[in-house]
């Protein structure tokens, strides 16, 4: 996960309206995307489809994902690394994890190097996203993606695909940050609360993990962050939902 300071990098529409959870009909949406696309790799990805909306979360194949990027603007910045970990509600499987450093088409800005520690020389010898695209989509196929703050992963992958093939990508995901927001951003703090200095609860990944007594991990390595996010989802379901919760209540 990529952060700068305390501000949230990208405001998505959903985030501005917390609590209003309107989940798209993902099986239908993927089917129609499969029919529309001309790109064979994307077609295969969409045709793999996803689980039915009433599938309990305990039965859903999941894939935790995290990106490090050159900056926060998906129209300008690019992905420099991807971390993936396959999981189910019960177990996160490091044996099925992947970590790529990629060569971005945007410049690697110095301030982002400070954050994720991936250097110019490392990306110089790294592959372009295009060369791992097929493997990435095969890993994602049929799974619901788990991210912390979908504004990053969804928009950056979409933009990266557009830049390379002229066509973007959509996929169902569970956003652990949005699950935290549902609890802690239900309403704006009242004037009294603000006057009394009540601080808004942070829904960033490290602070959210702390609330569930998850250990501290060093941030800004895509694979570690993907694992951190995967664990957070397990914890959220254990504390606030149940293994029977239908996926439709969680994905967006």
């Amino acid at each position: 996960m990529f952060y700068i300071g305390k501000k949230n990098p990208v405001k998505t529409q959903e985030e501005q309206l917390p609590g209003l959870h309107t989940a798209p009909d993902w099986p239908a949406r993927l089917a129609s995307l499969a029919a529309q696309t001309r790109n064979p790799i994307l077609k295969a990805f969409y045709e793999a489809g996803t689980v039915a909306a009433d599938t309990p979360i305990s039965k859903v194949p999941l894939l935790a994902m995290d990106f490090e990027t050159t900056g926060i603007d998906s129209t300008r910045d690019e992905i420099v690394s991807i971390g993936l970990v396959a999981m189910s509600l019960e177990r996160i499987r490091m044996g099925e994890s992947h970590h790529w450093i990629l060569k971005p088409r945007a410049d690697l800005r110095d301030e982002s190097v400070v954050i994720h520690g991936i250097t110019h020389s490392e990306v110089e010898s790294a592959p372009d996203l295009k060369s791992i695209r097929q493997q990435l989509l095969e890993l994602m196929a049929g799974r619901v993606i788990v991210v912390h703050h979908r504004g990053i992963e969804r928009q950056f992958l979409d933009a990266a695909f557009k830049r390379r093939t002229g066509e973007g990508i959509a996929f169902p995901c569970i956003d652990t940050m949005e699950l935290e927001a549902r609890l802690h951003r239900r309403k704006r703090p009242s004037l009294l609360e603000r006057l009394m200095g009540h601080k808004r609860v942070s829904i960033r990944l490290p602070e959210s993990r702390e609330r569930y007594h998850l250990p501290h991990y060093p941030a800004h390595n895509a694979l570690t962050d993907a694992l951190a996010c995967a664990e957070l989802l397990q914890a959220q379901i254990a504390h606030r939902f149940s293994p029977q919760t239908p996926i439709a209540k969680l994905w967006s």
Partner: protein, 628 residues
């Protein structure tokens, strides 16, 4: 690209038995781990359920139950479970419940088996055997009183406020006011030569009180450099120490502010008042009463309080190390106060001196039934005709005072009242030359107690000087070590051929075991020999064991076993004394095995067996047979 699981590897490496594994094995484990989260209260494993992985606790805590529902063990970060099941038909033997929110790393069965078969040390460690049981027993006692179990960094509420060495007193005072703090760390400018040369960036510290006593009261200019009034050569704590240890350090050095370091950098300063606020009713306030007592009579009235402090700590489940250290601080405070009173009565000493504590007090392993073992080191300008009368009187005052406070006279006359043990530093060095260069088992039999020495009062740096002298001389002297080893083997643990207890043969304690003579003393003796062999300058047996483990001279894992054995035997001895006190009896070191529970009896046998094996190793390593 090959995924690297650095975070997982780093975690595993910190804990046994993973610390036994080579890097490539750790990488393989990390790359195959599975992760599961369990909310507090969740049943993680049920009896007889299939088990397909070995569980390592990444964070949180679990309880392990016996099949009949009895609590068997409690595990936290770095603890592991499921091996019983994996080694026995993959069925869960011990049900597990999460008592806190717990994150577990699961090592899949095939990987576990691979490790078990390939790495013998790993297998030894994991295998269900006596010492595991003992370790768990020891571990389980470590809950209870938070003061005794909480880490010091918990009390740190803010980053330390610092100012550079170039500042003036006025600038320092302004910073303290604006930050609202009562102490200020003085640091070397970052990157300066002093900073690069020092172990840590702290040059010193000032407190509110220093401003009052060292600046205002003396009428110093406010532009005086802060370095002129600061306290340098700071005592500091480490972030992972226990609150209790930090408190002991503050009481021992009579300081009210303690900077805490983590990896060599200050992360905060704690004040004694922080701890008092944290734990208002503390056992150790007897120490401050000792320093306020104005006569031997007044001091002697504190004996009961010391005993109740001991009992309280036992009931609060303190470990032997804390109790030993607390009792040593108390004993030390008695000596210090007696010496202050003696100097007040006799006038200042004619030449400088250092009052030494020997034996268990120097090792910080004092209990309540204890002799006074002490000695005097005098300045080399000491002239017996002119000065000895003063020091004899001083020694007698302290020795009689200690006896009045419950520290009985040493039967072996190892006290500063004995002329031979009241000598100038140069003579002491000659003593050690003789003991170390021309040792005989007989001469060492009476002098080994001097190899545990600590300065209590006066020129305490002489004690350190002697310690370093001993450490340097003893290290490679195999004849000396052989003689020490021979003496260390004179007392054996009370186990017979069939591992049954062997009772003391004589006296009205005919059905008892002397836990000191047969347990803690031979253990301390054995550890002392190894410590001398590795050049350790530590006093405490646990610290010495740590030095020995780091020097890597024991077979793998045996150092840890000895630590557990020492802890267990000490605690049986300590609890027994506390029971005696509670029952209004005079405490002693004897226990009757029939008064122990089955559990304690079994563990005690395990612990004695570890001591016995360690003695065999000592014999093999130092060849005491040649020490004649």
């Amino acid at each position: 690209m090959q995924a690297e699981h650095l975070e997982i590897i780093d975690f595993l490496r910190r804990y046994p038995p993973f610390n036994e594994l080579p890097e490539e094995a750790l990488a393989r484990v990390a790359a195959n781990i599975e992760v599961s989260y369990f909310k507090a209260g969740t049943q993680i494993l049920e009896f007889n359920q299939d088990v397909d992985a070995w569980y390592v606790i990444r964070s949180g805590a679990v309880e392990v139950y016996r099949r009949n529902g009895d609590l068997y063990n409690r595990l936290s970060e770095g603890g592991y479970f499921g091996e019983f099941g994996l080694l026995r038909e993959n069925r869960v033997r011990f049900p597990i419940v999460a008592i806190e929110d717990t994150l577990a790393y699961l090592i899949p069965e095939p990987i576990f088996r691979e490790l078990f078969e390939q790495y013998e040390r790993f297998a030894d460690f994991v295998e269900v055997e006596d010492r595991t049981r003992l370790r768990h027993t020891v571990a389980r006692r470590e809950d209870a009183n938070e003061l005794l179990t909480s880490r010091i960094d918990m009390l740190i509420s803010r980053e330390p406020v610092t100012i550079e060495t170039s500042s003036t007193v006025r600038e320092a005072a302004m910073k303290m006011s604006s930050e609202g703090v009562s102490s200020l760390l003085i640091v070397h400018p970052e990157g300066s030569e002093a900073d690069l040369n020092a172990d840590n960036p702290m040059a010193g510290m000032i407190t509110d009180r220093d401003l009052r006593t060292r600046v205002v009261a003396k009428g110093l200019d406010y532009n005086t450099p802060v370095t002129e009034i600061m306290t340098s050569e700071l005592i500091h704590g480490e972030h992972n120490q226990l609150v209790f240890e930090a408190m002991l350090a503050m009481l021992q050095h009579n300081i009210h502010h303690l900077p805490i370091l983590k990896h060599g950098s200050p992360i905060g300063v704690i004040a004694l008042s922080d701890i008092i606020r944290y734990e208002s009713q503390n056992s150790l306030f007897v120490v401050s009463r000792i320093f306020r007592a104005n006569s031997v009579e007044e001091l002697s009235t504190l004996t009961d309080e010391v005993r109740s402090c001991f009992s309280r700590m036992v009931h609060e489940d303190a470990n032997s190390r804390m109790i030993g250290a607390a009792m040593a601080v108390i004993g030390r405070s008695f000596k210090q106060r007696l010496l202050e009173l003696a100097e007040a009565k006799l006038g200042p000493p004619p030449v400088p001196y250092c009052f030494l504590a020997l034996g268990s007090m120097a090792r910080q392993e004092q209990l309540i039934v204890t002799d006074q073992d002490n000695a005097l080191v005098l300045d080399n300008s000491f002239d017996p005709l002119k000065h000895d009368a003063y020091f004899l009187e001083l020694a007698s005052f302290v020795s009689d005072g200690l006896a009045a406070c419950g520290y009985s006279y040493c039967k072996g006359e190892i006290m500063a009242t004995t002329p031979r043990w009241r000598q100038p530093l140069a003579v002491w060095e000659r003593y050690f030359d003789e003991w170390i260069d021309k040792p005989t088992p007989q001469s060492l039999l009476h002098s080994f107690i001097f190899f545990d020495l600590d300065g209590v009062w006066g020129k305490t740096e002489w004690a350190e000087q002697l310690n370093r002298y001993i450490a340097k001389k003893a290290r490679h002297n195999s004849h000396f070590l052989a003689c020490m080893a021979r003496n260390a083997l004179l007392r054996t643990p009370p186990l017979g051929f069939f591992k049954e207890f062997v009772m003391e043969p004589s006296g009205h304690h005919s059905r008892s075991i002397d836990m000191k003579r047969r347990g803690t003393a031979p253990l301390a003796d054995l550890v002392r020999v190894h410590a001398l062999a590795v050049g350790s300058v530590s006093h405490n047996t646990f610290d010495r064991l740590q030095d020995i483990i780091e020097a890597d001279i024991l077979p793998s894992g045996r150092g840890q076993d000895l630590r557990d054995a020492l802890e267990f035997i000490s605690m049986v001895r300590i609890r027994h004394q506390a029971l005696d006190l509670d029952a209004g009896q005079e405490p002693d070191n004897k226990i009757e095995p029939e008064n122990l529970s089955d559990f304690e009896r079994k563990n005690l046998k395990d612990a004695f067996q570890i001591l016995s094996n360690a003695q065999k190793f000592l014999k093999y390593r130092y060849q005491p047979g040649r020490a004649n």
